[in-house]
């Protein structure tokens, strides 16, 4: 487990995991509002399986006149479902019960490794104590609030945590094709090179501006846009919002104004401009010549 010293205390629910490939990537820990629906879905499914199994057993054993044994197996089925449902699913479905799969969360060990059968069974047996008092899960909730990975007692004892396992399709790079932005982008001097921190700021702004009303955008953008406008020799009444977008466009999308000037329609850099080393097809990164450094 990582140390929880005040020095590396976090403000949000992101945790970092270092893989054997020597790369650190980030996970989001799943909070109670994702885990509760998953739990309820699982309870519903357990009940469904129990009743369906009961019907099946009644038919099978009732037909041969052993209704009593059928009932007995029904109770055993309930025992297995109530104690080992989660453990078995999490072992065989890579840390996910059907409910967790639907809510896109997954159980992993707290060092980022996959969980093993022992951990999966243990964390689900200890639901009995987490659910106290009276299946209201107050104890589990309390324990989850006390640590930075939302671990209930069962998670703490088995060394596991629940993380968000969101899928996301790559939507490509954000492109801004407002004509005013494109016009401004052409006016930015060709020598303009954004430093890393400026580039980060521009990207963060471009990604979020659509969620803001125009006056607010101007208010935020002015602090950076005004000095930039002076540097580029643009008129003082240039829209700060558009100017930052233009700088973003120049930094991230294309540095050669001619490419979208001539075509008129913006912004699909032609594949011919991209060198295609054979190594890339084999899956090697084209821009790594030395082993990747730890992130």
């Amino acid at each position: 487990m990582d140390s929880m010293t005040p020095g590396d205390a976090q403000l949000d629910t992101t945790i970092e995991i270092v893989t054997p490939e020597n790369i650190a990537f980030r996970y989001q820990v799943a909070g109670p509002f994702r885990r509760l629906p998953a739990f309820l879905l699982d309870v519903a499914l357990q009940t469904l399986i129990w009743w369906a199994g009961g019907g099946l057993l009644a038919m099978l054993f009732g037909a041969v006149g052993l209704a009593g044994l059928g009932f007995g197996f029904w109770l055993i089925l309930w025992f297995v479902l109530s104690w080992f449902y989660g453990g078995l699913f999490e072992t065989y479905c890579n840390g996910q019960t059907p409910g967790k799969r639907m809510m896109r969360i997954r159980v992993i060990a707290s060092d980022g490794q996959p969980i093993n059968g022992l951990q999966a069974v243990l964390r689900n047996l200890l639901r009995a104590i987490d659910g106290q008092p009276l299946f209201t899960y107050q104890l589990g909730l309390f324990s989850a609030m006390m640590n930075d990975r939302f671990q209930r007692l069962g998670d703490l004892a088995s060394g596991t945590m629940v993380v968000v396992d969101e899928r996301e399709r790559f939507r490509g790079i954000l492109q801004i094709d407002e004509p005013e932005v494109l016009r401004l982008a052409r006016q930015i001097p060709a020598t303009f090179q954004a430093a890393p921190s400026l580039a980060r700021t521009l990207a963060a702004y471009a990604e979020r501006r659509l969620g803001l009303p125009v006056p607010r955008r101007i208010e935020i953008a002015r602090h950076l846009a005004d000095p930039l406008a002076r540097r580029f020799g643009l008129p003082a009444d240039t829209s700060p919002d558009h100017l930052l977008c233009a700088a973003y466009q120049r930094t991230f999308v294309a540095d050669d104004p001619a490419r979208w000037q001539s075509s008129g329609v913006p912004l699909t850099p032609s594949a011919a401009l991209v060198a295609e080393p054979a190594a890339r097809a084999a899956g090697h990164s084209p821009f790594v010549s030395q082993p990747p450094a730890a992130g």
Partner: protein
């Protein structure tokens, strides 16, 4: 090279990795497609390199977030949960658990608490009029007395299958709850153990004073050894977790708990197995019209098996 060009060149690989992930996330995975699996590994490594260099290449935050998600997703498919292997569990149950239990102070403590409370409650119930009534309530006593009023030979065999299920569900459930409650600094486990022991003791003590003793003792003989041992075992497993929180052995509390829980879980599983064995005997042998000698023989045999397990397999050896 501008970021958009870079992305353009990488996007194909990322998309391919995404679709391989989708296939891996299904039940069948890539079991029939070794070429796909190899390709997946190569793409994953290259994705890791991309993420490592994301900073250097000034990728926009949204793309970096996407890369983190995709690496996490692929990581989960590449390193999958390890499943149960029968050999590992057999070894754990037949070698590790008995050896660990042989010198386990928690087991000794659970044993003393259980049998101490049991004997005290039994003595009080037998000698002190009114004790049982206070502890169990009038209704339950009446129920018990009615239940054992019919001689065992006259029991209806049709109910046995149902009782098998009930015994597994109820008794193993009690055992597992006892295990889980042990987590509360061991106190929870002690409380549950004392509660179970006094209830059982009071029932035994009370029944010995009434006319149904014959039926009762004939019924409980055969499955007694397995069932009572299983209760003590699950209590001991719970206490092992709980006491690790108190006496951490120099580790952080959470780490001590993690280690103790990993050791205690197989013990709880052994207890469940014992509960199931006990339920089988309780459902099919105890209520059967077999002569008492056979039932006593089953009890002696199961006690001998338990001795073999705890002492024979548990005795510390040179290796």
């Amino acid at each position: 090279m501008r970021v958009s060009d870079l992305l353009q060149s990488r996007q194909k690989n990322w998309g391919e990795l995404e679709s391989l992930c989708v296939r891996l996330e299904t039940w069948k995975g890539l079991r029939r497609d070794p070429a796909g699996a190899t390709r997946f590994a190569a793409l994953y490594r290259s994705l890791c390199a991309d993420l490592a260099l994301a900073e250097a290449y000034q990728l926009p935050p949204e793309t970096v977030r996407y890369l983190h998600r995709l690496v996490g997703r692929a990581h989960n498919q590449l390193y999958r949960s390890r499943q149960f292997t029968i050999s590992a569990w057999t070894r754990s149950l037949l070698v590790d658990v008995p050896r660990r239990l042989f010198g386990d102070n928690c087991l000794r403590l659970a044993f003393c608490i259980f049998w101490g409370a049991f004997l005290v409650a039994a003595l009080l119930a037998a000698r002190q009029p009114g004790f049982t009534e206070q502890l169990l309530g009038k209704e339950m006593i009446q129920q018990m007395e009615e239940m054992y009023a019919t001689p065992i030979r006259a029991l209806d065999p049709a109910g046995r299958g149902l009782m098998l299920g009930f015994y597994v569900f109820n008794n193993a459930g009690i055992g597992l709850r006892c295990f889980a409650f042990g987590l509360v600094f061991g106190v929870g486990g002690v409380l549950v153990t004392v509660y179970n022991a006094t209830q059982l003791g009071a029932v035994f003590g009370h029944m010995s004073t009434v006319g149904q003793w014959g039926n009762f003792s004939e019924f409980v003989t055969a499955h007694g050894p397995f069932e009572l041992t299983a209760i003590v075992l699950s209590a001991a497993a719970g206490m092992r977790m709980g006491f690790a929180l108190v006496d951490t052995g120099g580790l952080r509390r959470i780490a001590a708990l993690e280690r103790a829980a990993g050791e205690a879980m197989p013990v709880a599983c052994a207890a469940v197995l014992l509960f199931v064995l006990a339920a089988l005997i309780e459902a099919f042998i105890s209520p059967s019209p077999l002569p008492y000698g056979v039932k006593a023989g089953v009890a002696v045999l199961s006690a001998a098996l338990l001795m073999l397990y705890f002492v024979g397999l548990g005795m510390p050896r040179g290796d």
